[in-house]
Amino acid sequence: MKTMKHVLLLAALFAVAVSSPLSAAGKSIVMDGSTTVGPLAKSFAAYFTRKYGVKVTVSESGSGNGAKSLINRSCDIATMSRAMKAQELVAARKKGVNPVGHTVALDGIAMVVHPGNPVRNLTKAQIADIYKGRITNWNQVGGPTARIVVIQRESNSGTQESFKDLIMGKTAQISKTAETQSSNGAVKNRVSSTRSAIGFLGLGFVDRSVKPVAVNGVLPSPVTVRKGIYPISRPLYMYTNGQPAGSLKTLIDLSKTPDGKRMITELGFVNK
């Protein structure tokens, strides 16, 4: 195992040395953290490397690990789909790290049902009860008499995590009878073909095959997410140690350039 690791390390070093002769080892940027922000971080990284010749490494190990890496100074930018917690900030101060958050984009999670479902509006509490298994029939929320088929994402999903944070709270668990699909596309497929299904999708995935439901009376759209009216939305962050300078600043400020905004929109996120 150990020799294997050494060989891999050597190979990786060799690959880095060959592929980017211009960037000195100290100049490369390491990003770590959220899987939700991952696609955005990756496309920023690819764009950045192409444009400025600086090597950017992106790891996706979860927001919590992003924070941990930043505190341990093992990454330059922590990508996070939630704000840093108080205890993380305390831990950072103790180690002499000063985390500064930058909102790079906004993310909305749309609740979707079958187009034939007459239900137009759900409250946050109703959605929570549906996913907790307390509401099991559409007639309890003003729809037809039919058992609700609850569709969630797998436990690794960032969308799943933020849905749970925003709707269910930290401790509540999603009902065991909820079905699991492995991607936004699969959820959309199931909802569009099942009359009594409910699911949630990243805003970028909503199309005519499913019907988004208003949450607390607000329909999800880039506008309502940007204005902060739509209840199931949240900012996506990149954290740095102190105010960023040089290439770090350029990378984070990509979200303010037209190219960066285009990438954000293409990935289904919302510009702030």
Binding site: E60, E154, R190, T194
Partner: protein, 388 residues
Amino acid sequence: MMSEDVLKESGRSGAFIVSAQKRKMQKLAKTAGESILLLIASFVAIVVLFIFYFVTVDAIPYFQLQGFREFFTSSNWYPAGDPGEFGALAIIYGSGMVTLGSTLLSVPMGIAAAICLSDILPFSVRQYAKPVIEMLAAIPSVAFGFFALVIFAPLLQTQGGPILMWAWWILAAPFLLLAVIVISDLLSAKIEDPKRRQQISMFLLVVFGVGALAFLYWVGSVLQGIEIITGTNALNVSIILSFMALPTIVSVSEDALQAVGRELREGSYALGATRAETIVKTILPAASSGILAAVILGVMRALGETMVVWMASGNSSHIPEPWFNYLEAIRTLTATIAGDMGEADQVTGSARYHVLFAMGLLLLVISFISNLVSERIVVRQRKILSGQ
């Protein structure tokens, strides 16, 4: 004289030396060839051992961290929770459920198809039919999964009742017909007077026939009334998996039936047995060990299949209510490994990572045990058949 002898001797010994060299070379080549073959053969065995070793090594930390109790007795599967819950009971149950369901569907169908291929269809038809059935095995499982998710699941949701009713009629009608004939024959067999026997037999046939028809219709209409809420359920997966296991079962059992040979068949006919009697009483028992091997292979195919269950079983880790309800979504071991592997790296929580290896180990152990059992049964069957 002496010199001649010496010459002869040396001549002989010269020839002997050449052949010794040759023989040495041949021996060397033989050893080299054999050891290469041995190396290749043992490589396969070593791969299996290594898989066992690495899966076990990664599974043990889970049991050290969480113990055995929760894994086997709880059905709370919340690996991403804080702290995570790793109750796999419902998932193990789900695996068992689809394996049983697909076995119940594929084994009777597969064996019937094998008998039909080997003993009923003429040779010219069999030549084409068998490769067509074996073609099923060549379809990639993701294609089956896509079909199950995109076509079959919505179809079950919109036409579920009628589909169940037709399936019931098609499967149950021939069996009931056979049962009615056999039962009325048996009941009237004891009557001495042939004329009366025929009358009573006819009477019983009509009575039972009407009863069976009413039963068929009643169950059919009950089934037609069922509305399937979610199409991604245990039934969907069982049906698709049974089709995937079918080519293995048909092909291997047909080979076993063929291996029985002409002698036994002709012997049976010579003793006055009909074709049905020959098949049921002679050929099937003689081929039973091979058929059993086919069944075990089919079961393993269903148990180990991942893509189809991940796509079409619904993946909800609960034991259905009631426990035999095949119309509810379930979750299997293989699908859980595939689905939760993505981010369950060592960093995000040790137990969450190692629990998947514990599941893999469980699957390995199950298949190992069933292979062992089938091996034992096959050996015993051979002994019985050879009259020991």
